[in-house]
């Protein structure tokens, strides 16, 4: 199975994603990437990823092949209630154990259906079958529990649901913490989040750091309307890793200035929400053509209840202005756009109003903060509507962020 004694060699992992819709390309396989990164962070070796369909023979073939190469097998998919869902049955068989009914799991599933006042289809009972040599993994996000299975030859299998929303918390909260015991150290990453700077220009500014980095390493990435630098150190624990990554991160922040908007933060809006809260503002967004995306992003932050005011969205700026009983309004002229933001702030009785307009191949936005206004407009190349929305919202949010930072600095002086 593997070279050296079982306790000596590093454990090898493999990922097997089960699902015909995945195999045939109906949906993107984000699970494999997410799990791979989790294993990498733990410092566990991963050598193969496999995707198979909902077919018993081929799944069994894949499992047995993986068992001959690796110690730890991670599965997604095939835990549902239909006859296509066969992962537990096959893996249990290959690992040499059997499935038994877990009464507590069955009760949990029944309770879910009782709460939603719908009858439980009999087929759901199979979701409560658990491996005799194993352990149930709770799934607060769905009805199908996952499980660990301990094989007769020393293999460990972790079976997780297919839907990412259910798989990720199970992986992060249950599976990876369990697997940590098999790691002799890890990779610890930190992410410097960057806005209003293109990835290649950013990579240029950090060129020598990227080229020379061995531990830690630097990896530049582009994200939607943003960029990022992943700084990764190999160390025995987080504290050691931070000592390695700390100085590099400081250097990156120094070089990128305000373009670096946070380290290990969720997103731009979470940073803005903190600034709004600290300065005591609630923000209202008026969006024409961005589909309410800016409001949605801010309303998903932890502090949403404290920093979100009423937000409006409509296909046109004029429709928004009409609701607020304001006269003719436009964002085509920068001064008019800024004026609109100021008037909206007054009308909504708020210290912070943001106006966003998406037109054909052009975006405009304006922010009114504590009586000061700023505006921005940009023509864009031929892309898709989604691209314009993202650019418009990112520009507006970043402008708001900089105004909040400027205001904070001015108050200190």
């Amino acid at each position: 199975m593997k070279e050296g004694g079982q306790g000596m060699a590093r454990k090898r992992c493999e990922i097997i994603c089960v699902g015909t819709e995945l195999l045939l390309g109906d949906i993107t396989n984000t699970n494999a990437q997410y799990i791979a990164r989790g294993l990498s962070d733990l410092g566990l070796d991963l050598y193969v990823q496999t995707v198979v369909g909902d077919n018993e023979n081929r799944l069994e073939q894949a499992v047995r092949a993986a068992m001959s190469r690796a110690d730890i097998l991670l599965f997604t998919g095939g835990l549902g209630p239909t006859s296509d869902d066969i992962t537990k049955e096959v893996v249990a068989r290959c690992l040499g154990t059997e499935l038994v009914l877990d009464e507590q799991a069955l009760d949990d599933i029944r309770a879910f259906y009782a709460l939603t006042k719908r009858p439980m289809p009999i087929s759901n009972e199979k979701q409560a079958l658990m491996p005799r040599d194993g352990q149930l993994l709770k799934n607060p996000q769905g009805t199908a529990p996952g499980c660990l299975i301990f094989g007769k030859q020393g293999h460990i299998a972790a079976l997780m649901p297919g839907p990412p929303r259910e798989m990720r918390p199970m992986l992060d909260n249950l599976v990876l913490p369990f697997l940590r015991q098999f790691s002799d150290g890890g990779l610890y990453s930190r992410a410097v989040r960057v806005v209003s700077l293109g990835e290649s220009r950013m990579a240029e500014m950090l060129g020598d750091l990227i080229d020379q980095g061995t531990n830690p390493t630097l990896a530049p990435y582009a994200k939607d309307g943003e960029a990022m630098v992943r700084v990764t150190a190999r160390a025995r624990n987080r504290e050691e890793a931070d000592q390695l990554t700390g100085p590099v991160i400081e250097e990156i922040k120094q070089r990128l200035g305000r373009h670096a908007y946070g380290v290990d933060v969720d997103n731009l809006e979470s940073v803005i929400a903190e600034l709004l809260l600290a300065q005591g503002f609630t923000a209202s967004f008026l969006e024409a053509g961005s589909g309410g995306l800016a409001a949605q992003r801010l309303q998903r932050t932890e502090q949403a209840h404290q920093v979100c005011g009423v937000c409006l969205s409509a296909p046109t700026i004029q429709a928004l202005a009409n609701l607020l009983h304001m006269g003719p309004a436009s964002c085509e002229d920068p001064a008019a756009c800024a004026q609109l933001a100021g008037a909206a702030a007054k009308r909504l009785n708020t210290g912070c109003a943001v106006v966003i307009e998406v037109r054909e191949r052009a975006i405009a936005c304006a922010v009114s903060l504590d009586g000061q206004t700023r505006q921005y407009a940009q023509a864009l190349p031929e892309r898709g509507a989604e691209y314009y929305r993202v650019q418009a919202v990112q520009s507006a949010l970043d402008m708001l962020r900089l105004m909040l930072l400027d205001r904070a600095e001015a108050q200190v002086k």
Copy 2:
């Protein structure tokens, strides 16, 4: 290798993606999905996808395993000029042929570097090595040509570059047209979209159709807050396929009733947008706690400009009511919620207003359409905020859809 004579049985495909950054999750594997869909459209059977790193032994192991299961192997990655790039060498060896220098290919690579006025690294020459038993595949998007390799045992390998921008045109323009000769027709799928019915209950209602379906086949899927039945027929062309799928789809629609909201439509909101347009309504959404998700969905439809009114979102119902100068407002009591929708419709001077509230583990919504109101409330199990948002918006949108359908039917009578 496979059952039956070589000419008789259908060719089986496998995909092997090569690249350590892919394996370790640094980048998303969109190539596998893209190729899988291309093969599916051609009606070629795909049974396994594999991802391995830039390691010669493990790649060889994966290739030989694939050769034992399949006839056509598609590869991405590992065609570059570095010592990590080994795909051609390994696959050629496994298939029983050797690499020789292709002078034309070498000239092309030299020309590219001359054009960009950069010296060609010597290592780039390996990109001009081509299989003796094979065929070069031109790569207008990059410097590494791909190739077909014809193996001694009848296998065919197609080697393509890793970067999607280079791989996709090579696949679409060269590889798939070449592979078409091995297909005896295509797979043609249609999707019946289903709402307000759980996947397992839906599968129960269609049980016999799912179990007995051979051509076409039925596959039930769950999606966020929805479900779907994919009906797939193998046929020589779309017209023949439709003759096979048509009757089954009618049977499905008959059994699922109004839960089946469309066939091959983009989403629920696109169906609603058509109904709003046909009946001459613009819809305004007032959302508390759903982050403006309902408005965003409707504003992304084709007909957005004609069917979207002004939409509001805020953390609480009361904040929304205050903006509209309405008194105390609530959605906790169903009657009050319905009343709020009616009052909002009047205030916004629109024929259609939808109120959505997401609270802790409960959702409520109400629709006012042409003076009629309907409301809905539901307690939910402990999940995440995202789950509540999706459920709330789906419930509201479906209620609106049903009211529009009822109104259309009533007008016919």
